[in-house]
């Protein structure tokens, strides 16, 4: 309808143009900015978790250093590769959406979905080991320090906990010397680990749903995916999920030791 009206004025309007927008430029910008608004909220709530991580790691550097050795660097690195590659294939899907090549879009979206499943499977093996080792926070949590692990006597001097004594004086203790707390603090590490990688994995699952929907829409030639924007916005989401992992990987798997 709007196309017919527009053509009377001598314009050729893109059939994807919604009537509330002046032109495709404005519509595209609105869609991209709308998606970014959503991503900003995502940055904020992931940011809060990253902040919590920073606060607790700063308070318990020695605990985080020791406990993080229970994570598998190799699996983490492979998963990083998997997600980076899936970002590339998603970018290629967006490219082919812009070029209006339906088959190649389907191929690249399909590959991206396979990578997403690969990521989850590797993650699943990692978590499975955590369940087996009683490293999942909760009533069954158990952290047994290995033979080779040196007892923590002296922590770096900076992080201290200030306690008020009965005589009214404040006494500072280096935090990591409070030995009985070690298991609790190890649990704190694993809580952050499961919370953050879990939320991330949840985003991967949602990504599979979004990309799967697009895949079937392309398969059945749904008119909405003639327009490249749905694939591009899904791509923005997927790249964001990749960015979160880019930070999670070094923070949990690569804590430097001294």
């Amino acid at each position: 309808m709007s196309v017919e009206v527009a053509e009377e004025h001598g314009h050729h309007h893109d059939p994807a143009l919604q009537h509330q927008f002046q032109d495709m430029d404005q519509q595209n910008e609105s869609y991209v900015v709308g998606m970014w608004t959503f991503l900003v909220t995502e940055i904020m709530f992931f940011g809060a978790l990253f902040l919590a991580y920073t606060v607790y790691r700063r308070e318990n550097p020695a605990v985080f250093l020791e406990v993080h050795h229970h994570l598998d660097v190799f699996k983490g690195a492979v998963n990083t590769m998997v997600l980076l590659t899936s970002s590339l294939t998603m970018a290629m899907a967006v490219y082919h959406a812009q070029m209006k090549n339906r088959q190649k879009q389907m191929i690249y979206i399909g590959i991206t979905i396979l990578f997403a499943f690969t990521f989850l499977i590797i993650k699943g093996f990692e978590w499975e080991k955590k369940f087996h080792d009683h490293h999942v926070p909760g009533p069954h949590f158990e952290y047994v320090r290995g033979e080779g692990e040196a007892p923590i006597v002296k922590a770096p001097p900076t992080p201290v906990v200030s306690m008020r004594m009965s005589n009214g004086q404040n006494v500072n203790f280096p935090k990591d010397t409070i030995e009985p707390d070690f298991s609790n603090k190890a649990q704190l590490f694993f809580s952050l680990y499961f919370c953050m990688t879990g939320l991330h994995a949840f985003h991967v699952i949602i990504g599979i749903g979004v990309m799967g929907t697009l895949f079937f829409m392309l398969m059945f030639k749904h008119p909405n995916v003639d327009y490249y924007m749905p694939v591009e916005l899904a791509g923005l989401y997927w790249h964001f999920v990749d960015i979160v992992w880019i930070f999670l990987f070094p923070l949990f798997y690569l804590i430097p030791g001294s």
């Binding site: 991209v32 590769m81 070094p250």
Partner: protein, 114 residues
């Protein structure tokens, strides 16, 4: 003008869009850089640089994130409004991490009850 625009609209890749179409070669180069940086960050974690380790790891992660945002997410080719919107999230993140100043400075002055 209108005539030209509609002519171009029929060529794939030359439609009058908000953002230009990024060519695949750009994606491949960015991907190669991301992989190199990933290997760098793993390698760097095995080199003891003391307190510099964290800085190096986070710098590499930030460079990777910027590459993804600019090229994969096409913000580099985006409109100014897209730039502002993409930047806002990260600016607020900086404010959020500003609260760390409190944690860091708590012990600088001994105040009873803290």
């Amino acid at each position: 003008m209108d005539h030209n625009a509609s002519d171009l609209a029929h060529q794939p890749g030359e439609t009058h869009q908000t953002h230009h179409i990024t060519q695949p070669i750009v994606y491949y180069v960015v991907y190669a850089l991301l992989v190199i940086f990933m290997l760098l960050t793993v390698g760097a974690s095995y080199v003891n640089m003391g307190s510099l380790n964290n800085l190096v790891a986070m710098t590499i992660a930030t460079i990777k994130a910027v590459l993804v945002v600019l090229f994969f997410m096409q913000v580099k080719m985006g409109t100014r409004l897209t730039w502002v919107w993409a930047a806002i999230g990260f600016i607020w993140l900086i404010f959020l991490f500003g609260t760390l100043g409190d944690y860091v400075t708590r012990n600088w002055i001994s105040v009873t009850g803290w």
